[in-house]
Structures are given as C-alpha cells and as structure tokens.
C-alpha cells in the first residue's frame, strides 16, 4: 500500500551530509532547507517561482526550491550556496563574483551562484549570450546583471586555467558598455 499522509519521513543529502526528518506534506522545500536544516543562505525573494533567489541544485538539476514540496526531495542530493566553498575557502566562482563586483545588495546572489554553477558544469566555456540565458530565471532588483555576466565569464576562465590565468583573464575583460539584461 502506498502511503498517503499529511506528514512524511524523508531523507536527503545536503551539501554531502545525510539528513533525515519528518516533514509536513505541504512544506515547501525552501522552508525545509532554511527552517528545519537552518541553512539560511538560500533566500526567499518572491515565493511565487518568479525570482530565482531560492535556486538550489537537486540531483544535478537547478530548481527553484519554493516550487517543490519537501517530500518531493526525498532521497535527493541537494546542493545549496553553503556547499560551494571549501572549508571557508571561496570557490573560483565566488572569488570571481568578489573580484568583479558581481553583487550589490547580495540578496539574489545565492540563487545566481547556483544558476552559474549549473551552467558551468554543463558548459565550461559559455558565450555571453549563453550566460545571460542561464541567469534568465534570476531577478536582481539592483539590476546588476552586467557584473554578474563578467563574474561568470571570469570564473569560466579561472576554472579553465590556473589562478594566474584567471587574474590575467579578468584584467583583459572588455569593460565596454553592455546592455543590461
């Protein structure tokens, strides 16, 4: 018999750590991540699936965690922004956002970082158009898209070569006026 209930026992792996919990069927995944697991890096911007601030990676796929119920993530491997850095050491992507001023108020940044992570895994050397398409689901209310695109370009170069190559690459990034997304 298939269990049909208002609460569900689930087990997930979050940033490499196994977690078990009993969740209400109606709980959104983003609330499970923030309130039950205490990982506040995943933000809630709009709560309607429009802004992408709550984006996380589930079983390798970028999703908005306000558009899933917690029980739907049962058995899944979840990656959040907290999992990007390695013991306090920023990842190349995070470092690029720092160096290229890829954030302003920072509210949308966790979601953008996860969208960029998904993109760079799928396409290590994206064009500017591909980067813009990849962050189409992430709204920055500071409208800081130009520097986000630069950051992701710089991260792509950094991961392609050494850290020195990345520094050279970011120095030669064309700072021409670009149309904001």
């Amino acid at each position: 018999m298939v269990e049909a209930d208002q609460t569900h026992a689930i087990e997930v792996t979050i940033n490499g750590e196994r977690q078990a919990a009993t969740v209400p069927a109606r709980q959104l995944l983003v609330h499970f991540i923030r309130d039950t697991l205490g990982l506040k890096g995943t933000h809630i911007g709009c709560d309607t699936g429009s802004c992408g601030a709550c984006s996380v990676i589930i079983d390798g796929k970028l999703v908005k965690s306000c558009m899933l119920l917690a029980p739907q993530a049962d058995g899944a491997e979840i990656e959040t922004v907290e999992g990007l850095s390695d013991g306090g050491e920023l990842s190349p992507l995070q470092r690029a956002f720092n160096e290229q001023h890829g954030l302003q108020c920072g509210y949308c940044t966790p979601g953008v970082l996860m969208a960029a992570t998904f993109l760079l895994r799928r396409n290590a050397n994206p064009t500017e158009a591909e980067i813009r398409r990849a962050i189409r689901g992430n709204i920055c209310r500071c409208t800081g898209y130009v520097n986000m695109v630069r950051s992701i370009e710089a991260a792509a170069r950094a991961t392609a070569g050494s850290i020195d190559a990345a520094a050279r690459a970011s120095a030669v990034i064309d700072h021409k006026e670009e149309e904001a997304q």
Binding site: D5, L28, K61, P71, R136, G137
Partner: protein
C-alpha cells in the same frame, strides 16, 4: 508561504497512481509542479491528495520508433525534451520550443504532460503538437485511449483528460516527405508570457501541397486556421504568396485584450506569426520556390 493542509503520496506504478486518483475525492496528479505549486499557494483549488507521478519511469522516456514516430512520456521535462537526441532528430522545432520555455529552473522541473494538461491558452507546446498532428495517449484503469491533439485542448484550463485518467504519453508522427515545421511567438519579453503564437506544418515543392496552420493565445484553445490553410494550398511557395494567404486572418478572431496588448494588436500579430511560422516550415522542408 504556508499551503493548505494536503496529503502526499508517491505511487510506484501508473496503475497505482490511477487507483489513487480514482478512489480519493480531491486527488490530483503532481508532476513537475511548476504551475500546481503556485495554485496551491494561492489556495484557488481544493486538493486533498497530491499523487506525485514525476518519478514514474514509465512516463519518463522519449522513444523513436522505426517508422520515425516519436513517443514522449508525459513526465519528460522540457530540458530533457530540448536535449533529447531522438526528439531533435525527428522534430528540431519541437525541441527548440521546449528549450525556450521560461527559464532553466522551470525547464528542469516542468513536464511536457503538465504543459499540455494545464491547457493555459498561452502555453508553448499545445500549438506545435496540434500542427504536427500529435496524438495524446490517455490512460485509465480501463486501458489507453488515443485523442488527436487537435481535440485534446478543449478550452481554458480544460482538456480531454477526465476523472480517473492520466495523460500517459504523446506520439508525434514523422514529418511527411517535403514537409517542414515552423513556430513563431510574439511575447512580452524573451521566453516570457506570450501574446500570440503560431505553429505550422507545410508540405511544399515549389508549390504548397498541404499546410496546417495553428494559432494560439487568441482563443480559449489552439486551433487550426482553415481559412489560411485553404489559401495556402496550391499557391506558390514564396514569401509573397504566404503573406497574401495570411491576410485572410482577421475579423474572424476575437482575441482577448489586456494590459499587455489590445485585441486589435493581437489580431494583427496573429497574421505576422502565422506568416513567419509557415515560411519557417517551408524553409525547413526545403520546398521554397527558386
């Protein structure tokens, strides 16, 4: 946001899912949830039980048959359809349409079946499926029945899927010899809410032999514009002839008007997208004159 109390179940087979859907009052299938979760947030539907069908392997494959027919499982995501080799080989236009639905996050979760069963008149996939002459395979405890896509989309948020039934898969026949497909949209922003869409399948060899022209967003459901189809049949496969044929679209349409565009604008753009989709279909099929 706090949703209303609801029960959740994850059956392991389509048969189990059908059993739960038909035996429980207020049961609804949950696939990608990219519309349904928002419906739950807004509390505009009273759902007692969510039957999660998104992991059912039976519904998750894209297969090409030896005769060139493509069978797409209802729970295949837009992203999977976009990157499916058999889908791209058989119907590149269909794969491209899937790749331009909203954003990457939605494409990773939203399903082909969900896009069809929601039957929002602005949705991306219905018009191209009607143009390609797809068949919708609807399963119930009694078996599978086939409904042409042309009859499946009945109106605003209503389809041929009844109580105790599930859309199982969609079969898309191969393009006929000399045939091509096209798709065109005018939207508020790139990959965003559509004002008007058209999809076409045309068979041509210097001269247009057959044409299916489907308009969407301008009526409660996508529909074939038989007037333009008739005007195209037998005419030369030239841009001028296609333009001329598109002029029969007009007062027969009563599109909605809203803050994004007036009814008149949508009517005018219907001609434009119809023309573009037909021309794309002719180019894709290699049947243009000269």
């Amino acid at each position: 946001m706090l949703l209303e109390s609801v029960a959740y179940a994850r059956p392991e087979t389509v048969d189990q899912a059908l059993e739960m859907l038909s035996s429980t009052d207020g049961a609804a299938p949950l696939a990608g949830g990219q519309s349904l979760i928002n419906v739950l947030k807004h509390r505009v539907a009273s759902i007692e039980l969510l039957v999660d069908i998104s992991r059912l392997e039976e519904l998750r494959t894209v297969q090409d048959r030896p005769d060139g027919t493509l069978e797409i499982g209802a729970c295949v995501t837009y992203d999977e359809l976009e990157h499916s080799e058999p889908a791209r080989a058989a119907h590149a236009v269909l794969a491209d349409v899937a790749g331009h639905i909203e954003d990457q996050q939605i494409r990773n979760r939203g399903t082909v079946g969900g896009n069809c069963c929601l039957s929002d008149p602005t949705n991306n996939l219905p018009p191209i499926l009607v143009a390609l002459g797809a068949t919708m395979n609807i399963q119930s405890a009694g078996g599978v029945r086939e409904v042409p896509a042309e009859e499946f989309f009945e109106g605003y948020f209503t389809t041929a899927v009844g109580e105790g039934e599930l859309l199982r898969s969609i079969t898309v026949p191969p393009l006929p010899a000399g045939g091509g497909a096209g798709y065109s949209t005018v939207a508020v922003g790139a990959d965003s809410k559509a004002l008007v869409r058209a999809a076409a399948m045309v068979r041509a060899d210097g001269q247009i032999e057959d044409a299916r022209v489907v308009l969407a967003c301008v009526a409660p459901a996508p529909f074939r514009h038989t007037g333009m189809e008739g005007a195209l049949r037998g005419s030369e496969a030239t841009a001028a002839a296609v333009r001329e044929a598109s002029l029969v679209i007009g007062e027969d349409l009563s599109p909605p008007g809203d803050v994004h565009a007036s009814a008149d604008y949508r009517r005018e753009m219907a001609r434009v997208v119809a023309r573009r989709s037909v021309w794309q279909a002719i180019e894709q099929g290699g049947g243009r004159r000269g």
